[in-house]
Symmetry: C2
Subunit: 637 residues, 2 copies
């Protein structure tokens, strides 16, 4: 086939695709049914089958946290790369302190679940325990920004994992990442429980893979010894090691801890008893993550693996044990899937949190609308849109963002823990001192880590977070102010303010004497108010012809003819309305414009008819205080 024959087919294909998009748009509802499924009734909201059994909730809600095991220890030790061989053993204390922090945080969050069985996210806790709205808004803004970053980072990392195994897809990374986001949108618009069933088993498989690597490592060490010839020396303090460097390494390793809050936000989606289920999930997840993190750190130390930007340490370890065969392929693909699931867990968290905040009036109210399938559609679409912008801007290479979102996470941890502290002091229920102590440790540690992040990463972009967060809080307050003001201005006393009789003048736009005009004039006259027909002419001849025809038609109402010098109908009509608004004495309360609109039988016939009515309507609505009635005329053919 010739080159340009091929290209011609491409043009035809583009035109067909445009046509298909147009068709899909104009027949949106049936397409929606195919992709999204049948609508669900209100009462299905509380039905058990959209609720999650905890074993199924584990993969959905923990993918964000658990997937970080793949890069946490590496991120920490990379900061110490410049210190050479003698610093390698530091991967052990750094990872173990991360695991310790993980334990504290999970304990603190279990306290949160105990205190708030109906979903104790940082926002809800702060709202309940602080009079001022600012702590809760700081928490929610930080979390919402982090959710967006998580989607961008996880999807990009998933695509990168695949493209490092199959370099052929490398040029299409951005496109693939956007496609993945689109898929997540479709799945989440379908509803939560169904996506759990789809995704639960692959994540279990990933967890099994990770545990298999750790077991393989121990087997290897039983055979070849716990100190091998690759094992670096232990316990020496390398030259040049400063406190700042240790803090940097520690805070980078802590980026593995993002995602802990997902479960506490999502308590209501658990099957009953939801509180116990959530706590079980937390404990199971904590043990799994701790074992995996510690195991990896230990094996990496024994094998003396060093960071390499072309090949992750996890991948180096797996290669060392299994070579480049089937097991390696399985690990790559399960990594891909778990990273997509990390993004998916965010698609549960973001819409729920934004709906709660919007219900309080701090975000646009549209975020509280549930779609046909009971998901918060607007939240899902906003998340996908903002994450896609990040993916496109960073061309699907978003690793640099990972440390940034840790600030937001630890900021919201701190707010939540501090809120719980205030609660225990106020409520003073059974063994409140123990709970208080746990959350006190949690508060202090989260706050310290947040500050360490902000200081050590300030020049690497943390400043952006420190600008964006206050801005979001400011906008939230402005939105709340607007809603309060609108509600106040709309409130009436039903006993005092009652509907009144208004003086209405109806203006019918006529373009000639034909069936459409007959229909429109009939409607306007039947309403009973005063009717004026308005004709816009472009030259004397057409104006005279119209006046003559109107007389012949028996002058069903008063006719006003307007001359247009600019071929526009907007300008003379605006002039006429302005004049009416200044009518002395008889100025009407409402000017009521009646415009006919063609409704052709086939939607694509619309392109054949000038839709002046629509343009006129949009323009007048923006610029003048008029009431507009559109009278459809359904063409039979």
């Amino acid at each position: 086939m010739h080159y340009h024959t091929f290209k011609m087919l491409e043009v035809i294909f583009i035109l067909l695709a445009l046509f298909a998009m147009w068709y899909a748009f104009s027949n949106f509802s049936s397409f929606k049914r195919i992709f999204i499924g049948r609508p669900m009734r209100n009462k299905e909201l509380n039905a058990q089958h959209t609720k999650l059994f905890w074993i199924l909730a584990l993969p959905i809600l923990s993918a964000d946290l658990y997937s970080s095991v793949a890069y946490g220890p590496e991120a920490g030790i990379t900061e110490l790369l410049s210190l050479g061989e003698s610093a390698k053993w530091l991967i052990l204390p750094i990872t173990f302190s991360t695991v310790f922090l993980l334990a504290i945080l999970i304990l603190s969050y279990i306290m949160g679940v105990i205190a708030y069985p109906n979903g104790g996210g940082a926002y809800a806790i702060a709202k309940d325990n602080f009079k001022s709205p600012y702590p809760s808004l700081v928490a929610s803004s930080a979390l919402l920004v982090d959710y967006i970053l998580t989607v961008a980072v996880s999807v990009s990392a998933a695509v990168e994992a695949v493209s490092s195994a199959y370099p052929v897809v490398a040029p299409y990374e951005t496109l693939l990442a956007i496609l993945c986001v689109f898929l997540l949108v479709v799945i989440n618009l379908r509803g939560v429980a169904e996506s759990a069933v789809v995704f639960a088993y692959p994540t279990f498989f990933f967890m099994a893979c990770m545990l298999f690597i750790i077991i393989t490592g121990f087997t290897n060490e039983f055979h070849d010894g716990f100190v091998q010839n690759t094992t670096p020396p232990f316990g020496t303090f390398p030259q040049g090691l400063t406190t700042l460097l240790i803090l940097k390494a520690f805070s980078s390793a802590c980026s593995a801890l993002t995602g802990i809050e997902t479960i506490s936000n999502a308590v209501p989606i658990f099957r009953e008893p939801k509180q116990r289920s959530a706590i079980k999930t937390y404990i199971a997840l904590g043990i799994l993550t701790a074992v995996t993190l510690s195991g990896f750190a230990y094996h990496l130390y024994v094998k003396g693996v060093a960071p390499d930007p072309q090949n992750t340490m996890l991948s180096q370890l797996a290669e060392g044990y299994f070579g480049h065969g089937l097991v390696y392929q399985l690990i790559i693909w399960s990594t891909f899937i778990v990273l997509i699931l990390a993004a998916n867990s965010t698609f549960t968290g973001f819409p729920q949190l934004s709906a709660i905040v919007a219900a309080d009036g701090y975000l646009p109210r549209a975020l509280t609308n549930r779609g046909d399938r009971l998901g918060y559609s607007n939240g899902i679409l906003s998340l996908a849109g903002l994450a896609s912008i990040l993916i496109i801007a960073f061309r699907a290479h978003t690793n640099a963002l990972i440390p940034l979102y840790a600030i937001g996470v630890f900021l919201s941890f701190t707010v939540a823990q501090f809120g719980l502290l205030r609660r225990w002091k106020r409520v003073k229920d059974k063994s409140w001192q123990a709970k208080f102590a746990i959350n006190l440790i949690g508060t202090v540690i989260s706050a310290v880590v947040a500050v360490i992040f902000a200081v050590t990463k300030f020049t690497s972009g943390a400043w952006v977070v420190l600008i964006v967060l206050p801005l979001i809080v400011l906008f939230s307050c402005l939105i709340k102010k607007h809603y309060v003001e609108v509600a106040n201005s709309l409130r009436i006393d039903p006993k005092v303010t009652r509907p009144e009789q208004h003086h209405i003048v109806s203006i019918v736009l006529v373009s000639g004497i034909h069936r459409v005009v007959n229909n429109t004039v009939s409607f306007a006259k039947s309403l009973g108010s005063e009717v004026i027909a308005v004709y816009v002419g472009f030259d004397d001849e057409s104006i005279e012809r119209m006046e003559h025809k109107w007389e012949e038609w028996g002058e069903p109402c008063r006719l006003v003819v307007l001359r247009s010098s600019y071929r526009s109908i907007l300008e003379p009509i605006t002039r006429f309305i302005n004049a009416m608004e200044k009518w002395e004495g008889g100025k009407p309360d409402h000017i009521h414009i009646v415009v006919p609109q063609f409704i052709p039988k086939k939607w694509w016939h619309n392109i054949l008819h000038n839709q002046n009515a629509l343009l006129l309507r949009a323009w007048l609505f923006r610029h003048k205080d008029v009431i507009i009635t559109t009278v459809p005329y359904h063409l039979e053919k």
Copy 2:
């Protein structure tokens, strides 16, 4: 600056750009003023200052034809490349027969201008001389398709010319080409005469460059002899030369002749006396083109230049005379400008032709709308859109399309000439026999060339043209049929059919008792027709509360409460309308739905209010026969 700080700034930039686009869109009219200029009055349409003096019309209307000199002879001789050195002299007979054909065609078109002083394009001539609409539709479809191809080809060639001189822009060819199309749109929306003044001088400069090359060639030959050692042998018939090959070479060379019809289509844009001006322009253009084509062919023969895909023959010739210095740069840039002008001349032709065809009812009527600046805006935008699709699909490498559009050109030539033949026979004015003879030759030659094109280029894509053209003709006929049927169904006898009294029931959608609802109910009740308030509730509690409040409000009209099981307001309202349509006895003639709509003070406040009214309106309008009134409520704050 760190990599991700930089990227962050990019994200902020993207968000700002999106915001700017949104702002520009919502303040469209002021942006339009800046780019397009003040609106012009109807009477300015016939004012002399938008009309063109013929010397200025020459560059505007001839760029399409004249720019082809750069590739015509080359396209012809390339077909004979395989025959070797001994075929090189054939560039002379092939080019001279092209020049001969040019002379015949220009003469024939001058006959057209004499016969049709008000614009004698192929479409107008065919319409006037054939009873059947098909010949004129074939001509107009062929020309419209060619105009689109011309824009794509010329703009792409212009960008390629620049990028071969400056390889640094090569990766951005598609983007640059689209930008050029956008620029042409802006210039043409501003109006015809102004663009002439902008573009006339650079084209003159290109013409001067071309003539300068030819004169330099002759000077060179006076010095170094008319037979140089590079000159190939003359007059030998190479082995393997077949009739088909000669025809192929001839037809490829004839692709240089596209664009002749532009002047005859555009007679009305000339300054008076327009007929004489158009003929003067034709003669000047014919002489210029003939001299340039012949001169090039001769010098190319003397220098023995061979086709080279990396370097055009014209560029090789110029390099031979002037080296790679300033003169070469000037030639490259003037080539760029003249090719852009070739596209620009099409922006004059396409909108005019499509407006004429649309006025006859064979294309969507919107193409006849003149914009603020008197240009046919919809035609200009359609042309730019379709050409952009071709440019994107072919990644700005559209050379392969050049021979294709020659088919359309010669097809329309044939139709026009044949129409003129019929006219001379019918009118029989002064010396009609001579005119008849000229057009007879023109008809036969155009027809033969069109057939040669279709046969020799069939497998290289001509089949696409032979499929697309009949389809366009078919669609044109369907459009005409639709308009005729609509006009018939709308026609009434003003003495018989008069406005009647209709029974109207107004439905007011209420969401509670507040100021907006008070305003809407007041309006509906003041109209005087029967009013029913409809409330959609999602649960029993809200329904009871509403019923109680309504009572407290003094029941200004009947209240109907509907329950929604799917959180949708569309579904219960549709059910209610369906029920009303089946009311026995009292079925109303019109169901009139009154919906309130918030108009916030700041346009961006719209995002804070659920625009359910708009969605409801769009949906009901498509699916039900109801009249919809939108009552604006202007928020004071």
